[in-house]
Symmetry: C2
């Protein structure tokens, strides 16, 4: 069993050296977010993650969350860790200072979040869900609602949840049936929700449920959904906790992984009806939900990266310690020397680096979309975030599973044993391609909403960005640039070709386009990861050329980029045919013959 | 939770219509193995698999195997199922009639085995291990040993195990330390073995352990290993069971999956030393082990296919039942209609078909290698089996995991819940890329032993076989042939190019070659699967042209082949760079920077 050491040097490379922090510093209110501040935050967060959270990961998995008489008992150490997390102010990093937040950019927040997830994925879902609630209330709540809930949610004294899914309403959230009947200044909520992450627990005094429901005269489908605040305990005028609301956790799911995260079936209004407060307008709940969800999608993508990093660290430790066979000196040889083991480790490492750079870069655009002075700049940044969000969510979560699986493979036979801890990462990672919109939904979102809806404007802007990087790379010195430039150019051509095909075909036949959505997303992501590796190559080569910093670090960055260029990027070209030609068999296949 | 229906029609298509059975019927002793016989065997086996074994799969997973006072209690229904299996003669299908076997070709045996694994993977490992023991004794045992053990093993009255691994000796089996000291006509064995599948259980009267150990004056490493029969109960001269041998199961592993299969830590000779009998010559144990292992590798590859089939059936059932959103008629629409779900199902189905055809075809060569009258034909067939064995093992087990994971994805959120049963397939499948030689070892075996050792002779023969198929396909009628021919030709070129590279580079630098072994194996397998899809296309098109049989069935076979051509085969070209160029970053990477 391996602990977790926050990869602060790698994080700082992405934040400080790939142009992200410099871009952030130009934003109003972020002038003081400098390298020293980032370093200090990462170091302190790393201590909490490695020292407090990580040791509860395996034991939390073994103990799970337990429901007894309507109360969920969390695993040993979880409450204490949460207390330290709240006391340290970690819940409030990126939020509004008017409500007690620290007002730091999301770029800084995402790095700390990566650590919480990697240290203890099940635990980290609690603050992650709270973030979604904060986001929704910040954007859609009334001033009174903000005054009542935001400070406590931002501090972490209270936690938040998202209540969307019902047994018949999963990907099709518009099919939900939970009812909300107006009664004076509030509503009475009745219905059952499933898959409610941290819907009930013992780590905080109150839980603020955000619940999607239908008012009596709501139109059918997704246009008739409203969002409600339904607190576990009602809040008195003075902010103290009042009566217990009519809601309860009726059961916990028995899951493959994230066992320490209580996944609740929640029942609202078994008696008189739970009291809820409308957020935003009636029937506009879907927009509020997407506010919660879009950020949550980036966070879930981040979780793929974070678990991959944790699994990678464990695999490296094992590969250094475990010997098999003899080396040239006749002595037992650590398996890290074997070419195939090194290939596995580099497959993990290079993609982790590409993912981290892509996620942090996307979040930088998110900061720009919210803070840039110029409205056009905000809009351009928002378009980039919108485009990259499904890419980040689906690619990083798919890779999270793949990389967790490779980590098991590095261990050989002992990797399959629960004691080793490697399989927990695979079990934990497997939910991420499913929740917050399955990866199939992400691919559909990418193609239909993000590429086609604006007639390819955002996609083409992005492709031009990658094309410019290819040019810069082609003109740069060094073996890695020379190896990466043609592969990235080929990937970029493949992305451009398939994007053009989607745009042309989307006018005639959406089914064809959707049949190729998943390979298109993978192609897009593989190229986007390659673009970030290009930026890493240029930065590392520049530091080597000027002799700044540790040459071993930058040389390793080049090797990792080269591995990506020669082993990962070539997949992109192989995905053109699935996008462009794959639809025939998909659509024509006789359903009875499945 | 879905049961299991043996895919007998698909099996018969491969066996009867892709030229496999016709090839078998030419072999001495197989003249009577006709379609009627195959049909009858498949139908009866399907009943046992679907009706008796499959219902114990989920309950066995939940209960697991339990060790109490040295005795392993298997899950409910396991013993009874085993009794029915033995009584039905299913254990004896492919074995020597002189010892009670039915003498049927392995081609028939493999189809029944696929059913046992798909129905209950954990349970099926017991007879699978017995097969390895039978193989080893058949090839290396004395007549007296055969007389004592073979009949009971072939009937299934006794079961067998393979005892290779020790804590320090996994992939490097030569590092094992278990000792065997001669004493009269037998040896005394002392040592501990780990990961012993079905090392102790309550389903049979005796367990025949085949144990690798070292004699006192054995040379170090793999050249000093001998193989011993170490029965749980010694066998009296009259064949009755005698005294309990000095061996015991000291603990069971707590694993990710195959929980109903007892994975034992076995201790030999805690007291006076376990009595063992030498198989073959001293220090030649490795050769005996490979006899056990080579067949076992094909069987483990088969398990990847079998679990994939089971997971696929469950995913299809769910996709037909589950509705989300509305169809053009405004009614709830089954998710099987969504293009992305269809893509997932076809990704599963097309690769399952390719795997099945490849495994069965490899086993046909195995039958030829053992039964062909002409020595040259036997040798050619053996070379083909040797070449394809690591491909079958690694590719099918990797795909088994990938396909089990897709099956979860088809389910969405409920797929992550243990009750649904989809995650069991992922958990069960994950061991197969590890045991019987990790897939990294398979790739190394393919490159170093199977491609380089004979200077590419077997590989080039195989490539010519694929090339000829491309030509036939290119000249054939039909859309599918037209779509598949160029993709298969491109894949074949990629295989030829990388094979030539390996042969050239292998003379200079084995590390480079081994660094690309894993992508080379994947490339090889992807093309080999494509070649089988080409044979399926030709057969299906011929049946459609002549109007023989059910046109829907053959049309679906064409669509599946087309999907493979346009979605799976294009990956092959993307694997050339990883083989040819990937080694630089792999070998040059600074180990300290991992």
């Amino acid at each position: 069993m391996t602990g977790y050491t926050a990869p602060t040097r790698d994080m700082r490379f992405v934040i400080n050296e790939l142009g992200l922090l410099p871009a952030i510093q130009k934003l109003p209110g972020c002038e003081d977010t400098n390298e020293e501040l980032v370093d200090a935050v990462l170091e302190e967060a790393g201590k909490l993650a490695g020292g407090v959270l990580a040791p509860t990961n395996a034991s939390g998995d073994a103990q799970g969350a337990v429901l007894e008489n309507g109360v969920v008992r969390t695993a040993e150490g979880f409450s204490d860790a949460y207390r330290q997390f709240v006391d340290g102010g970690w819940n409030s990093v990126p939020f509004d200072p008017d409500y007690g937040g620290q007002g730091l950019p999301w770029l800084v927040g995402i790095a700390t979040e990566e650590m919480w997830i990697a240290a203890n994925n099940a635990w980290s879902l609690c603050p992650m869900l709270t973030m979604g609630a904060i986001d929704a209330l910040t954007h859609h709540g009334t001033d009174a609602q903000k005054d009542t809930y935001l400070e406590k949610l931002i501090s972490g004294e209270w936690t938040g949840t998202m209540n969307l899914t019902e047994p018949h309403a999963g990907s099709d959230v518009g099919a939900l049936r939970t009812r909300a009947v107006p009664e004076g200044d509030h509503y009475r909520i009745k219905g059952q929700k499933i898959f409610i992450t941290w819907g009930e627990h013992d780590m905080a005094d109150n839980i603020v449920h955000l619940v999607l429901a239908r008012t009596p005269d709501a139109p059918p489908g997704s246009k008739g959904i409203s969002l409600f605040i339904v607190p576990k305990f009602l809040v008195n005028e003075d902010g103290s906790l009042g009566q217990r609301n009519d809601l309860r956790c009726v059961s916990l799911e028995h899951k493959l992984g994230i066992k320490a995260s209580p996944t609740c079936v929640m029942s609202y209004g078994d008696d008189e009806g739970a009291i809820g407060y409308l957020v935003g307008e009636e029937n506009k709940g879907l927009a509020c939900m997407f506010t919660m969800m879009n950020n949550a999608r980036i966070n879930v993508g981040l979780s793929g990266l974070a678990i991959a990093e944790r699994a990678y660290q464990q695999a490296v430790d094992y590969a250094r310690e475990r010997t098999q066979g003899a080396g040239p000196d006749g002595k037992p040889m650590a398996i890290i020397h074997y070419p195939d083991v090194r290939r596995m480790l580099l497959t993990m490492k290079s993609q982790i680096e590409a993912m981290r750079a892509l996620v942090y870069d996307t979040v930088t655009s998110l900061d720009q979309s919210r803070r840039a002075e110029d409205a056009d700049a905000r809009q351009a940044a928002q378009a980039r975030v919108d485009l990259l969000t499904p890419v980040v969510k689906a690619w990083c979560t798919d890779l999270g599973v793949e990389i967790a699986s490779i980590a098991i493979q590095v261990h050989g036979g002992v990797g399959y044993m629960e004691e080793t801890g490697a399989v927990q990462h695979l079990r934990d990672s497997r939910i991420a391609p499913i929740y917050e919109g399955t990866n199939g939904i992400q691919a559909q979102d990418l193609v239909a909403r993000k590429v086609l809806r604006d007639s390819g404007a955002a996609a083409r802007t992005y492709i031009e960005e990658v094309r410019a990087l290819c040019d810069t790379l082609g003109a740069a010195d060094g073996d890695t640039a020379a190896a990466l430039a043609p592969q990235l150019a080929a990937g970029c051509d493949a992305l451009a070709e398939t994007t053009d095909w989607l745009l042309a075909e989307g006018k005639a036949d959406m089914a064809r386009v959707l049949a190729g959505a998943t390979p298109y997303l993978r192609l897009f992501a593989t190229v986007a990861g390659g673009a970030m590796m290009a930026r890493a190559t240029l930065a590392a080569q520049a530091s080597l050329d000027t002799g700044a910093g540790d040459p071993d670090f930058y040389t390793a960055k080049l090797a990792s980029a080269r591995f990506y260029a020669e082993n990962i990027l070539p997949q992109a070209v192989g995905l053109v045919a699935p996008v462009r030609d794959g639809h025939r068999a998909v659509l024509e296949f006789n359903e009875a013959a499945f």
